[in-house]
């Protein structure tokens, strides 16, 4: 029980956010109407992606100082799972944009920034494939990962704030918090976000353990 309480918590939080997200009260607003419920699913994807990329960069730094292959496995699996959440975030966002902004891909700095950020992490995976030797691969890709992380932050979180964006909270648009007067949406959004983050970390640990076993099999002397 000690080890998997957070997995139970993740499932419960997700159930809560899905049920409350689809049935709970939301403010009636023009244009967005009921699609505002998408905020419970779209925003947590980005929180999860960001958490996983942060875990990845922390473990890349750890790898550089320890040269322990396990740290490298955590870093690469975090990026793998983070990219999946990034794609989910883009898909939910495109669905939403199609309803409210009229097109699945309007020319918005945040959209373009996250697409380019994804390219950067795909490049990280390509770089890993280009290197044969395991230790060299782990070290060089860790270096690229650390190098790319601050640029990803600039792309996704700093540049969209300075230019005009369709997203709330940027370019003179009012932030999301102003629509949510009584805090009932926050009560669903934040638990849901924690639930998704825990799910993301769970999937990452599963993939990490698989990779660790494969590594043990490969290196074991017959």
């Amino acid at each position: 029980m000690n080890n998997y309480w957070w997995k139970v918590l993740a499932v419960l939080l997700l159930l809560y956010s899905i049920v409350m997200g689809l049935l709970g009260p939301v403010p009636a607003l023009p244009i967005v109407n009921e699609t505002i419920r998408n905020v419970y699913f779209h925003v947590p994807m980005w929180f999860t992606m960001f958490t996983l990329y942060t875990i990845s960069v922390v473990y890349s730094i750890k790898y550089l100082s320890s040269a322990n292959p396990r740290h490298d496995f955590v870093a690469v699996e975090s990026v793998n799972v983070g990219i999946v959440f990034c794609i989910f975030g883009l898909l939910t966002g495109m669905l939403w944009a199609n309803f409210t902004w009229g097109a699945p891909w309007p020319n918005d700095p945040k959209l373009n920034g996250s697409a380019i950020g994804t390219l950067m992490y795909l490049a990280y995976l390509v770089l890993r494939n280009a290197l044969e030797e395991e230790q060299k691969r782990a070290r060089i890709s860790a270096i690229y990962n650390i190098f790319a992380f601050p640029i990803m932050i600039v792309l996704m979180y700093i540049l969209p704030k300075t230019t005009d964006s369709l997203h709330p909270g940027a370019g003179g648009n009012s932030g999301f918090g102003e629509f949510d007067l009584d805090g009932s949406m926050k009560a669903v959004l934040y638990p849901g976000a924690i639930g998704w983050i825990l799910i993301g970390v769970w999937v990452m640990t599963l993939r990490f353990r698989t990779r660790k076993m494969e590594y043990k099999n490969d290196t074991a002397t017959p």
Binding site: I116, V126, L127, K136, R139, Y144, I151, L155, I158, L159
Partner: protein, 219 residues
């Protein structure tokens, strides 16, 4: 102090090596001039937005080609020798500064040729030149580290492009925006935010390069 001396003599060595052969710099200058000319032949006359974007694209490819070579032109044995006489930080710092000098020269030549062949009025030439200089320095800072990484990974030019394009895009977006402001002759105070972002990206990339390169060079 010792590092500074090492950096200075390494930069001198790079400049002397380049001066002896004049191969890389001439090749790149020829590359820039012919690209500008091809663009001129293809477009004849363009509107200001395209003029600006085209200039940055030419500069982007020229700088990738110029900096791509910076870690492979010297043999492994000679690089080992540098690492025994100077710290890894001095090596990367000297490469970054040398590439910045090359890029400044290259971008000023590109700008001259481009503005002579493709005539286009500029609203605020001084600000435009400052932006070009900042862009050249920024390209050098980012691409030097990426060139070091791709040199370790067998140095194919595809890898260099894949690794560097996503990383350079934020800087390129800011550069195109500020230089457009300079072209239109907008009030300078509107561009201060972007200039600060540019400076910050430059400082961050140089700092991270200094931190990470010591891990990169050993095999």
């Amino acid at each position: 102090m010792q590092t500074l001396n090492a950096v200075r003599s390494l930069i001198r060595k790079d400049i002397i090596l380049e001066w002896r052969s004049k191969y890389a710099i001439n090749g790149i200058v020829l590359y820039v001039v012919s690209t500008v000319f091809v663009c001129y032949q293809a477009f004849k006359s363009v509107d200001p937005t395209t003029w600006n974007a085209l200039f940055w694209i030419i500069l982007l490819f020229a700088s990738i080609n110029a900096i791509n070579k910076s870690f492979v032109q010297e043999s492994r044995g000679r690089q080992l020798y540098y690492y025994t006489i100077a710290s890894a930080r001095a090596v990367i710092l000297s490469k970054i500064i040398y590439n910045m000098l090359v890029m400044l020269l290259l971008s000023s030549i590109a700008y001259l040729v481009y503005s002579i062949i493709f005539h286009n009025p500029l609203g605020d030439p001084l600000l435009y030149m400052v932006v070009v200089a900042l862009g050249a320095i920024g390209f050098a800072a980012v691409f030097t580290m990426v060139a070091a990484i791709s040199a370790k990974a067998g140095n194919n030019s595809t890898l260099m492009a894949i690794l560097s394009f996503p990383i350079i895009i934020p800087m390129l977006l800011v550069l195109i925006q500020v230089s457009k402001n300079a072209m239109d002759g907008v009030e300078r105070s509107t561009s201060y935010d972007e200039l600060i972002v540019l400076g910050a990206i430059n400082i961050i990339t140089v700092a991270i390069s200094l931190l990470l390169f010591p891990y990169l060079w050993r095999d």
